[in-house]
Symmetry: C3
Subunit: 138 residues, 3 copies
């Protein structure tokens, strides 16, 4: 067994979902490791990672509306150093989490047919976000 690590960087256009499945799969393929485990960590507290449906776009708009309901902007937060979208961004990042592990089987990420890996940006403004990745296998 051997391992590889990298940090991939993504420009987000502000609040929304950026699919990173192909970027992760390309890096995994480059390592030559065909059986193993890919572990991803989003190195931020206002952006996060999730695996969700990659076909119907309406799933992402419904997901965004749900985030608004569960962690709305408002005057009720003690923490607003960076504006009204600051604390809701931390809450939404907590909701989805920043850590994912994906088995690699037969040369491919073992995702289901309808699964995509998404970087969720929770701030209004565009940001540059880093994903640390560890891959072990053979």
């Amino acid at each position: 067994m051997r391992q590889a690590t990298t940090i991939l960087s993504f420009a987000t256009p502000g609040r929304g979902f950026t699919e990173i499945t192909r970027d992760v799969a390309r890096w995994v393929a480059e390592t030559g490791i065909g059986e193993g485990l890919a572990s991803l960590l989003c190195r931020h507290t206002s952006a996060s990672l999730l695996i969700q449906e990659n076909a119907a776009r309406a799933v992402r708009s419904d997901l965004a509306a749900w985030f608004e309901r569960l962690a709305p902007e408002g005057e009720h937060y003690a923490h607003d150093d960076e504006g009204p979208d600051d604390m809701p961004a931390h809450l939404r990042a907590t909701l989805t989490g920043v850590s994912l592990a994906i088995p690699v089987i037969g040369g491919h990420l073992a995702l289901g047919t309808w699964q995509g890996v998404y970087l969720a940006e929770h701030r209004h403004a565009p940001h540059r976000r880093e994903i640390a990745i560890h891959l072990s296998g053979e």
Copy 2:
């Protein structure tokens, strides 16, 4: 160190929780790896994985009621291709996540006394669900 991978398949009876701890533990035991890490990925966007209390059944009914409150069925979703339980299922899968990693120590999954691994089915109808598992260790 060495590794093993598999895909376990489970029939769910529709919405609810199926405990899969023993199935996972049995496969880990068969590999002969007694120290390592077991990583699980639910390959679906309307079913998910969680670790929760395995004793009191009321915990699961309260959990199901909580899912209903946080991600209710209704007319307010843009995405309803497969019916009113379609989008709430995606939201509930997002809430719990689809990826888990469990250390294996001394020949056993290092779960706490009261922890069980559950496959959560979020659709009304029965489904067949696949869990991809990666195990590395020695």
Copy 3:
């Protein structure tokens, strides 16, 4: 590649967040593994793990208030064997999850500048909580 496992134990002062980043980093450093993956499992169903902002304290008080809103104490739970904070604790543990994987790169946990690893205690009373950790690498 080689691996190491341990179980770290923490005393929590009751409901709140205990930062465990340094404890985890210290153990990782002691193993001499400088490139790899550290996987953490909280072995409880009323406490959980999350990665969140480690600078502004107000983030944690807002986070605690948000847990209260999303999973309040009340009379509406079937499960209350251990009191009114029993079931809300299970729900909050489900919200954040009990499993995290963190790449180790260049001798350090590859966390972002503002990220800390927190053990979230969801019961009112102080508890002793165990975190199982697996580290593989070289």
